[in-house]
Amino acid sequence: MNKQNQFHIVKRGAMPWYFGWLVRGIAIVLALLVSAAVTTILTGEDPLQVYATIFHGAFGTKRKAWMLGQNMAILLCVSLAVTPAFKMRFWNIGGEGQVLMGGLATAACMICLGDKLPNAVLILIMVIASIAAGAVWGVIPAIFKAKWNTNETLFTLMMNYVATQLVAFFVIVWEVPKGAGKIGIINQTTEAGWLPVIGGQKYLLNILVVAILTVAMHIYLKYSKHGYELTVVGESERTASYVGIKVEKVIIRTMLLSGAICGIAGLLLVGGTDHTVTTTIAGGRGFTAVMVSWLAKFDPLVMIFTSFLLVFLDRGAGEISTVFGLNHSFADILTGIILFFIIGSEFFINYKLSFHKAGKEEKHV
């Protein structure tokens, strides 16, 4: 019984609303200080300059700001897609594959129907095809989960690899020129199947579509009967069956939705901006989306901020690696430090440490 300076973890009670933001703010400041120290020690660069460069990388020019918006829109779109599944405690980490399938379907329409249909009809078919492809990719694991209670985490993960291979296969089928190993820009001359550019800005359409999706998802989760049902299923399947909610139906319906929105992300990428398809168009967003969604505690409106944060860090990090001639891994280190502090701060929002000294008064930190 002679151990000194023991501490205990104690759950905090109700704190004022600003408390959480205060803690998060402190966490970010600390993260920047630690990053600065690491930067100076490892590279000898002036940390303030590094931070300025990060900011410049994200917002520095008009083009960079638009790119930020575009990246944020696609990431947010995938995050919106996985959120209803997560809320239902269905761990859909197959966003990557569902996006790829949506993109593949879009590219297929553009290549095969490019010159045979009026553009408006083609785009309509592309929309339907991409949504359907994403939804099918999402619903397959859901059906297995609903009927035979298979593990959806492994299943959706494996579906990613299948999707990647399918895309790789079709890239070779459609490669231009033969032997190039890539498709190149589809319909470069006719621009058939390219989503319309509005307001003269290439990325504006994507941003608007995702903005609408965000509001719609917020309303769907919070105010619709479907949203209520999937929350109940996520909290307790037993309660759901007890009140007569058909659990299987809800799982399948929610994953159809989740996959469909991933399909839309694929459509926006292939039809809206890239106009080609590769195995890497999803760019790991299917996984980053998991973090966006969790950090925001599955709230679509908060996800606007979390997706911004991640894209901002990523864009800024890319910039410092070019400007200072640093390895890209260094940028990843900084991103890692900042995320560590932000995620770690959640602990201090919910808990506090209290220290004990044997027989003496206690201190709370």
Partner: protein, 510 residues
């Protein structure tokens, strides 16, 4: 008990959970060779106080002295080192291991494990106090009371001489309870200090030497049991005088409402849970269902409610106009669609009846959210309902926007029962409606159930407290191993008779 030795002294113990003051400067002494009954309503802080003694929680303030020496108890291991052992309400045993293996689990003295030596020691303990445990028996083969015995032996094996039992009789039959009490008396006579937390006052009077009462986290007082009475203890717990009689109004125009015929149910593992069960539930009447835990009550209620797949048999609902509806093969939604107003208060309140993380309003919505054609949910009506239930049943909650997991057991149950009654049912199934509830909340629930009966509802009351069943139910159906062991009239039924029916079909003495 002339020269009483205080083994444990708790001084000014304070524990907060967020804004809730669970223990407020509590003083408590536990004496050697004495059985102390710790009394209090739900949420009065009994279990919290004992958890601090057994190392589960750490007090925010205050001191604990063992044998007049101040100690810090940071973990269950610290508690064991101080010879304190607690038997929790929910057993903490590994199902696939044997009794002996469970008993030594977590003990390491650096030497090689000699299971034979452990078994010998276990047998010695059993012989000394009159336990009946086979050290080689696997836990999953054991009855609830055997598991509890293993827990007690486990604590004794670790050398505990301060024992804490948290509601040990909640899961036992009257016969098993008697056996447990005999063992506890043996241990007391052996000089151990024993604390028992219970809600059943007749057990307190029967077993304990001293009672201590907590109310709202504060220590109210203690006294020798023989100088007190059930009435006095209750008044101390509640804080004002209460009457302790359960009413049993005459049945109101009883007519068959649900006919269960030859119902047979197997669990997913193929174990026979209900075996050819037949009986009738009447309107305006309370049908009590008695039986030891695991005898098929749960499956019976869930089969009627459309939640349990059945093997054979039928459950017929009889409408007022005489038309009949088969309920087997329908899920809860299909049953409701047929116009059968069936309400069910399940045993697992937070895992089945309610969603712990949702607030009161959203929980009220569980039954009604489908109403209307709209794609969107209507939150105004359930909010109104939540407010009404809070007001009428005196639910203690900060607001209707509080997640139900933050509420105490009694208040959770009021929310659940309130919601189930609100849909104007014709059949009300209740499973352990007052389990874990304090006296005041229990009586509120009995009242609510009686009111339903008087308004013509067919009530099924599955209970574990035979004294209550005998006072409340019009008829009592006794289940034993999934079979109907007997149906007795609640008026004039004898506790012993029902107790025997619970353990042997037909209730024949050995």
């Amino acid at each position: 008990m002339e020269n009483k030795v205080a083994r444990v002294k708790m001084r000014n113990i304070t524990k907060r959970f967020g804004p809730v003051l669970a223990n407020d400067r509590v003083w408590l002494d536990i004496y050697q060779g004495e059985i102390l009954a710790l009394l209090g309503e739900n949420g009065s802080g009994k279990t919290t106080l004992m958890n601090m003694l057994s190392g589960i929680y750490f007090p925010d303030e205050g001191q604990i002295f063992i044998d007049d020496k101040e100690v810090l108890i940071r973990s269950p291991k610290d508690a064991f080192d101080l010879k304190i052992g607690m038997i929790h309400q929910h057993f903490k045993l590994v199902d696939v291991l044997t009794a002996a293996e469970n008993i030594v689990l977590g003990l390491h003295d650096g030497k090689r494990l000699d299971l034979e030596k452990v078994k010998t020691r276990v047998r010695e303990i059993c012989d000394a106090y009159g336990f009946d445990v086979d050290p080689d028996e696997k836990i999953y083969n054991m009855s609830v009371s055997q598991k509890q015995t293993v827990e007690i032996v486990k604590v004794l094996y670790r050398g505990a001489d301060i024992l804490i039992l948290d509601e040990p009789t909640a899961v036992l039959t009257p016969q098993e309870t008697d056996k447990l009490f005999a063992v506890l008396r043996n241990m007391r006579n052996d000089g151990k200090a024993i604390v028992i937390i219970t809600h059943k006052l007749h057990e307190v009077e029967d077993l304990s030497d001293r009672v201590a009462v907590l109310r709202q986290g504060q220590f109210i007082g203690d006294m020798p049991t023989r100088e007190s009475s059930a009435q006095e203890m209750t008044n101390m717990m509640v804080g004002h005088p209460v009457t302790l009689n359960i009413e049993r109004p005459e049945p109101v125009d009883p007519k068959p409402r649900v006919e269960v015929k030859n119902l047979t149910v197997r669990s997913e593992e193929g174990v026979l849970k209900l075996d050819d069960v037949s009986f009738t539930i009447n309107s305006g009447e309370i049908l009590g269902i008695a039986g030891i835990s695991g005898c098929g009550q749960k499956e019976l209620l869930e089969a009627i409610a459309g939640l349990q797949p059945t093997e054979s048999g039928s459950v017929i609902y009889i409408n007022d106009n005489g038309t009949k509806e088969e309920l087997i093969g329908k899920d809860p939604q299909a049953i409701a669609d047929k116009g059968v107003a069936l309400s069910f208060v399940p045993e697992d309140r937070l895992g089945m009846g309610l969603v712990a993380n949702m607030d009161l309003t959203d929980n009220m919505m569980l039954r009604s959210f489908r109403r209307g054609r709209s794609f969107f949910t209507d939150r105004k009506t359930p909010k109104k309902l939540a407010e009404d239930v809070v007001k009428e049943l005196e639910v203690k909650t900060p607001s209707v926007n509080t997640p139900v997991r933050r509420l105490s057991g009694g208040n959770v149950q009021k929310i659940l029962v309130g919601r189930e009654i609100a849909s104007a049912p014709t059949v009300l199934l209740t499973a352990y409606a007052v389990r874990g509830l304090d006296i005041h909340s229990s009586y509120t629930i009995y009242d609510l159930i009686n009111k339903q009966k008087q308004s013509g509802v067919a009530v099924v009351y599955v209970g574990e407290d035979l004294d209550v069943l005998l006072e409340l139910a019009d008829r009592i159906l006794v289940l034993c191993d999934g079979k109907v062991s007997g149906i007795v009239d609640g008026r004039g039924a004898k506790k012993r008779e029902v107790g025997l029916l619970m353990t042997r079909v037909g209730g024949k003495d050995e």
